[in-house]
Symmetry: C2
Subunit: 306 residues, 2 copies
């Protein structure tokens, strides 16, 4: 019988979601950064609303996404920021958050207080509200798990999915890639402001956030869009001390990966530099005709080798 480590995360998710029914109010189900719900389909709520509700859940695990000696406030920041990054990836903004913490009974109370301080700091800064949660114990010696679920909002005409890319689109990334393990993975900025500005002002055809590395995430976007892709490795914006291989594979960049038509790109880049002069926006590749090849490299949750 096969183990998770033999099939990997993407194949697992594909198997799990294939039998799920989609609700009448669910516009986008499993497989994108967030689920998208049309509340106009819910009795009593105005069908004329100009927003969709976004739903997202995410979890970080001790020993996988952070270490036992990582400062608790940074763990909390990361747990919330990851979810906010997914709202950004759809062109949306956060609403209310629910926090589940599963910790060993011998964890210190002040650790949990610091953890919550980090959760709240990130939520406050980006306009999210922690409105509930759950605490549970894990057995002695087990890794702690912190799960954050939340609602968000996106204007109907600013919703961007992974699947909207077209052959010929240029592929862009915000910021610099690689080496996140040096510290950025605990203190990154969810690109809410940047995503809002881009989706308000430009036709962004497809978008997602980079969590598992460009080498793994771009194939996902291309596959969802029914395209293949090329990457110009020489063009990759690398963090200091990183080479192109690290920019491709390190993961946890939490930058935006997006595609636009070639007609849009020069105007976008020009306006971007005026708006966000400190943050690069870089063309790194193109969507091309064909079927996506299997992803190589990047972060794979259940295999042993990465």
């Amino acid at each position: 019988m096969k183990q998770l480590s033999e099939i990997g995360e993407d194949a697992l998710i594909e198997q799990l979601i294939k039998d799920l029914d989609q609700g009448d109010d669910v516009l986008v189900g499993p497989g994108d950064d967030c689920a998208v719900v049309d509340l106009g389909a819910v009795s009593g709520l105005g069908a004329g609303a100009d927003v969709y509700q976004l739903l997202k859940t995410d979890a970080i695990v001790e020993g996988v996404h952070y270490l036992p000696d990582t400062p608790a406030a940074e763990v909390g920041w990361k747990a919330v920021a990851r979810v906010l990054s997914d709202f950004a990836a759809m062109g949306g903004c956060p609403g209310n958050l629910l926090v589940t913490i599963a910790l060993a009974p011998d964890q210190e109370v002040c650790y949990v207080q610091e953890l919550y301080r980090g959760l709240k700091k990130c939520a406050d800064l980006y306009g999210a509200v922690i409105c509930g949660g759950e605490t549970s114990s894990v057995p002695h010696g087990s890794a702690a798990v912190i799960s954050v679920a939340g609602t968000g909002w996106v204007k109907k005409n600013q919703l961007v999915r992974r699947s909207g890319g077209q052959v010929g689109d240029l592929v862009l990334v915000t910021g610099k890639l690689g080496g996140s393990i040096q510290g950025k993975h605990l203190s990154f900025t969810p690109r809410l402001e940047e995503a809002k500005w881009m989706t308000e002002n430009f036709a962004i055809r497809s978008m997602m956030d980079l969590s598992d590395g460009l080498a793994r995430d771009l194939p996902r976007l291309a596959k969802a869009s029914g395209c293949d892709f090329v990457i110009d490795e020489a063009s990759l914006p690398c963090n200091q001390g990183c080479d192109a291989a690290q920019a491709m594979n390190d993961g946890e960049d939490y930058e935006l990966l997006l595609t636009v038509s070639p007609q849009v790109v020069s105007r976008l880049l020009e306006s971007w530099s005026a708006q966000f002069s400190a943050l690069p926006l870089t063309v790194v590749g193109e969507l091309i005709e064909g079927q996506v090849r299997g992803a190589q490299g990047g972060w794979e949750h259940f295999t042993e080798t990465s």
Copy 2:
């Protein structure tokens, strides 16, 4: 420095939530079975809507809420049913669910498929939709964690909180209590139908679901309502083979605990037997004047002794 096991779950939660701000749209924040959100406060959605949105997250942990050899489909059922039970406890019904699973890489793929079959079976039966999720690995040897978050709906005039109880209210429970560990904790029925019927037809003043045992949960309800309580142990509806102490303390009953005014109770009991002849509804105590005593017994997550 104090550990979680020394202060316990209720004191921990009290400390964590005291600094949280409540959003403008959040009608009920941390401390009840679900958070309650008034979407009328969200731009573009009809302020005239006759429903509130409920938000809930919950997690079950291997070795705490189920065992490594518990059939995976039953684990999945339980993970969803616990959340639905919380929607019932507010007088509501479920909407969309997000499922987070954190499992060791050596877990078998067929285990996860069975787990999802159980999640879906429970969701389908009660009208919930799994619209997204997240998978993560945990380190080898760590307990698996399954977290389910979801949205639900409640008619504004049928919302019941823990805090609505009044001095003189009679305290009732649905079903029978105790001995859930024999199997019921994996296959219980979330009392959605019963809660809907009761809140449609009667003035239910306060309600919650029984997850940690009457001995621990009734003090929570009484405290939220600003009352003390008495329990008539002789009246407790005990599951076969259980005594009153087990009915008080065993936990995981997932029955409804509610209070109504004495003027309502006889009419409620009479209509109930006509409607749900197979399920008892039993008066087990009364809310009285005073401040609630500290909870004794029941299930306490972080202490060693229970």
